[in-house]
Amino acid sequence: MTAAMETLIQSLVNGVLTGSLYAMIGVGLTVIFGVMRIINLAHGEMVMLGMFSAYWSYTLWKIDSFLSAIVWVPLFFLAGMLAYRYLVRAIMPGGELNTLLYTAGMSLLIANVALFAWTGDYRTLNLPYAVEPLHPFGIAVPVPLAIAFGLAALITAALYVFLARTDTGRAVRATSQNPEAAALMGINVERIAMITFGLGTALAAAAGVLLVPSLYLYPTVGEILVVKCFVIVVLGGLGSIPGAIAGGILLGVIESFGAVYVSVAYKDTIGFIMFLLVLLFRPQGLFGAARS
């Protein structure tokens, strides 16, 4: 294998691995939008809180950060449901602009409380088994990213089965396609909205837990993540789950290629240039059909 070829494959692999986590965050944002028409600007903070939860589990209680997902993901699911019930629901009749401003406010509040509590220090989490990368086929794969990828794929697949095969999952999709018709089927639309908000929050937090060994951690990390989230859902078409998965992986690959072939400093910029190009030339998303 030539060196150029090796670099190409290496950056492709890195891109797909990181992209799988982006995809999970994007799917969370997109299910919430699909069912409730809320663009949740506090979504990045949910990822941040997930990251800190796993970080503290490890540094304070010596619990493996990946293992801590078993506790944190259900807790964030519950917290998301409660947040919907007591914080978000009252604002829903105000329309999309109101919920947008409201979640923007929540995002600022959460990030600043986190800054106050944990300071703005950059932190990293070094797992003992993560020192040496794996070397399958001569490509270096960081261990934590490989584990994160595996778990992200598992969680996304579980979500897919839930949405496709269960009655509640079908009700979630029905509500996102036509809430009034869903109510006429005897679906409790409020309950479905609550479950969906819980799901979206849990997905964001899960991505945070999985990302923490691979990313710098600081209270305002959510800002950049939520912007990336928009790139992802716009690439995939807002409201589409397969679109968000494809968009997340695509963004991961674009960033990875950008870092290798252009400059690490321009990694994020290249993603955002893509975002603008898609908005200009294909506003319905690369994969999404135009929504009726």
Partner: protein, 234 residues
């Protein structure tokens, strides 16, 4: 069975229904006819508890429906097939039908009722796996009615089932409504297709600007001078 008693409904400051009363008896087909904007769809939405009346009452036997949630109304067996079908467009026909039987009580009966729906609409059987949004207009209407039947309705409320269908499908639609009724389902039919609706219905009510202005058997209304002039153009 279903009694709507003097309901008043307003959208914000604009009042849409002014003391509408009517009754649907067990086993009947009752038609609610009238021009566009007369309040037919508003009436059905109010029965389904999607809208709340500011006055009046809706009774299913002795049970008040006007203070229930939409979910409760469905659980009592009062099922609406909404105007414009409102299928879930990105789901398969089969998934749409399964959602019709979503309530806890209906789930146990799902496979039996699915068979029953395919008996009434044999054309839907081969279409099960097709995405609902890609079905033809006629098939979509069949699917919407089938989805309603999956709930095991005591009373099925059809909002403009013939709207936008080819003439041959309109005829088929009215035939199917009669067949469903003969199988024991009480029907409240809302239609702009006054002639066909009144021919089919046992009894009918004419709505005008949010008020019931005429009522009688289907035959009586068809013979009525005013109905003939205003709605049938005769």
């Amino acid at each position: 069975m279903l009694r709507v008693d003097n309901i008043e409904v307003a959208y914000g400051k604009i009042q849409a229904l002014w003391g509408v009363s009517f009754e649907v008896r067990d086993g009947e087909i009752v038609a609610l006819v009238g021009a566009n904007g007369a309040g037919k769809t508003t009436t059905l939405k109010t029965v389904s508890a999607l809208l709340r009346p500011s006055a009046g009452a809706i009774l299913l036997d002795e049970q008040r429906l006007d203070c229930c949630t939409p979910v409760k109304v469905v659980e009592f067996g009062v099922i609406q097939v909404p105007e414009g079908r409102k299928l879930f467009p990105h789901m398969t026909l089969r998934e749409n039908l399964l959602l019709g039987g979503y309530t806890r009580a209906a789930r146990a009966e799902r496979s039996k009722r699915l068979e029953h729906v395919f008996e009434i609409f044999p054309a839907l059987r081969e279409r099960q796996g097709q995405i609902a949004g890609t079905l033809s207009g006629g098939e979509q209407q069949m699917a919407a009615i089938g989805r309603g039947l999956m709930a095991g309705p005591r009373i099925l409320m059809l909002d403009e089932p013939s709207l936008g269908l080819a003439p041959i499908m309109v005829e088929e639609m009215f035939r199917v409504v009669r067949e469903i009724n003969q199988r024991g389902v009480t029907i409240l039919l809302v239609e702009q297709n006054t002639e066909n609706a009144l021919e089919l219905a046992h009894r009918g009510y004419v709505l005008e600007s949010g008020r019931v202005v005429l009522e009688g058997t289907g035959k009586e209304l068809l013979a009525n001078e005013k109905v003939r002039e205003a709605y049938l153009g005769l």
